[in-house]
């Protein structure tokens, strides 16, 4: 089923999720509180997962949440809390009121309009893609178009046939990273 670019429920949902993702991504880049940035990153991941879900890619959506929002963000926050960045006090950042902050971001601060421009360009591009592509939208239509065919097996088959070698290589790289992290952070026993 292809989707024309008309205002219907799905477009509204997509717009909403995309908007959340974009605003959150913008905050990730510009927020001066690094923990807030990390939490906004989690929001980006969740919003993207929502888009995946809309597109009928449940497995991808769920994995996105599990791995990125759940694990990766937590790791990032963990790293932030362990590092000296935790020293920055909220008061020291001198948070001005929201409206002024918005104004500062948009016009006067050193970031200026740049991230916003990028974000808008990206949004336009995304929307273009969304408008043209034909999406197997099933999630919200489950009652009407019948049960979804599981794409888990599809992903699995692809991973272990077409992409078997990249998959294995990626896992080895991750293992190396894991071992490396342990070696790097493990302190010498002083006693």
């Amino acid at each position: 089923m292809s989707f024309p670019l008309t205002i219907n429920l799905y477009t509204v949902f997509f717009g909403l999720l995309a908007f959340i993702a974009l605003v959150a991504a913008y905050e990730v880049v510009t927020n001066r509180l690094i923990t807030h940035a990390a939490f906004f990153l989690a929001l980006v991941f969740v919003a993207i997962a929502g888009i995946f879900l809309m597109l009928g890619a449940e497995f991808l959506a769920v994995t996105q949440v599990l791995v990125y929002a759940g694990a990766v963000t937590v790791m990032i926050i963990f790293a932030i809390m362990m590092s000296q960045a935790g020293e920055v006090k909220i008061e020291e950042c001198g948070r001005p009121p929201f409206t002024r902050r918005l104004w500062m971001r948009l016009v006067s601060s050193q970031w200026g309009l740049l991230p916003l421009v990028f974000a808008l360009a990206f949004a336009l591009a995304m929307f273009g893609v969304y408008a043209r592509a034909s999406w197997p939208v099933r999630m919200l239509l489950a009652d009407r178009v019948g049960p979804a065919t599981p794409n888990t097996s599809l992903v699995g088959a692809q991973l272990f046939s077409t992409y078997a070698i990249p998959f294995e290589v990626a896992s080895v790289v991750l293992l190396v990273a894991l071992v490396g992290a342990i070696v790097l952070t493990g302190k010498e026993d002083k006693s």
Partner: protein
């Protein structure tokens, strides 16, 4: 009575005549409301049950005063008390994180219920990746705990949050791995599919090791004693919710019990055949099995001393994960042979 039935019928007719674009979201909303109501009512019962049950384990009576017999209205009274309590936001907290953290902790517990089959037909959404979805929803709660821990600007809270992160991340792995054996036998990630696969024998008998690993890691993810390190009272005062009070604290509490209920429901569905059972209607079986797990977890909680954080990590990484992998290997071998 007849007039009421007519009105109801008319309402239904009117509802089904609505255009799809309106009908579907309304249906969704109704489902969400139903699930929310189910959670709230059950949490009220659960809190009362935990108090009474722990009381009896400890030779006490538990609540007796508010609502006789046996203080059934105690939780209700406490809820009202929490609702009308002064809302305190301590000075120096990270306001945004502090305020939204309870909601973020509670939401995943709500999300899980979207895929739990109450009976053959009562299910919000029979997602085909339900089992991973459950794990994913569970992993979101840690973000909320982090927010509260960091946002509270309190060292005990922060320590609690750090513990929570370490704990939930490491126990998610054995928890998901232990379910994989079930998935391999059932050949489906959907919870309805798993229930259907148990029509002859429950998976608790086919996957005893997987069940034990799941139980242990679930208790760890639920922050229940012996794994209640994130809010270990005697060590961290109250862990991540040290600075919370009133309604916000109530949300943490609600989330904790909703999670307990959800985890029990998943365990009942995956290992005890869910709603299936003879004689009684499906929903009764479902509730019975869920509450069996609830009681089991409470019983363990009120017996065991608390484990230490590094020992807990050790159990998770050095014992549960290898054991879960062995379980998968054995299951695979058996499946190959049979």
């Amino acid at each position: 009575m007849a007039a009421l039935a007519d009105t109801w019928q008319a309402l239904l007719d009117w509802y089904f005549a609505l255009p799809t674009a309106i009908l579907v979201p309304i249906a969704g909303l109704l489902k969400v409301l139903a699930v929310f109501g189910w959670i709230v009512i059950n949490v009220l019962i659960l809190i009362w049950l935990e108090r009474k049950f722990s009381g009896r384990l400890q030779s006490r009576l538990g609540p007796m005063r508010v609502g006789r017999p046996h203080g059934w209205a105690q939780t209700l009274a406490d809820t009202i008390k929490l609702l009308v309590k002064e809302d305190i936001i301590p000075r120096g907290v990270d306001r945004w994180l502090y305020v939204i953290a309870p909601a973020v902790v509670f939401t995943p517990a709500l999300l899980v219920w979207a895929v739990v089959p109450f009976t053959k037909n009562w299910i919000v959404s029979d997602l085909n990746v339900a089992l991973i979805y459950v794990a994913a929803a569970g992993s979101l709660a840690v973000l909320g705990i982090f927010m509260s821990g960091w946002g509270s600007n309190n060292k005990w809270s922060l320590l609690g949050a750090m513990r929570a992160a370490a704990q939930i991340i490491s126990y998610e792995v054995p928890s998901v791995l232990s379910l994989m054996g079930v998935v391999m036998i059932a050949g489906s990630l959907s919870l309805q599919g798993i229930v259907a696969a148990q029509h002859r024998v429950w998976f608790i008998f086919l996957q005893p090791l997987g069940f034990i690993i799941y139980l242990i890691s679930t208790m760890a993810e639920l922050n229940r004693t012996p794994f209640d390190l994130t809010e270990a009272e005697s060590e961290l005062v109250a862990g991540f919710n040290t600075e919370y009070s009133g309604l916000r604290w109530a949300f943490f509490f609600l989330g904790e019990y909703a999670n307990l209920l959800a985890a029990s429901a998943i365990a009942a569905t995956v290992f005890l055949g869910g709603w299936s059972g003879p004689f009684l209607p499906g929903i009764v079986w479902f509730v019975l099995k869920t509450y069996f797990f609830v009681i089991l977890i409470m019983w363990i909680k009120w017996t065991m001393p608390r484990i230490r954080i590094d020992q807990m990590m050790e159990v998770g990484w050095k014992f549960l994960i290898p054991a879960a992998l062995v379980n998968i290997a054995i299951t695979g071998l058996v499946l190959l042979v049979v």
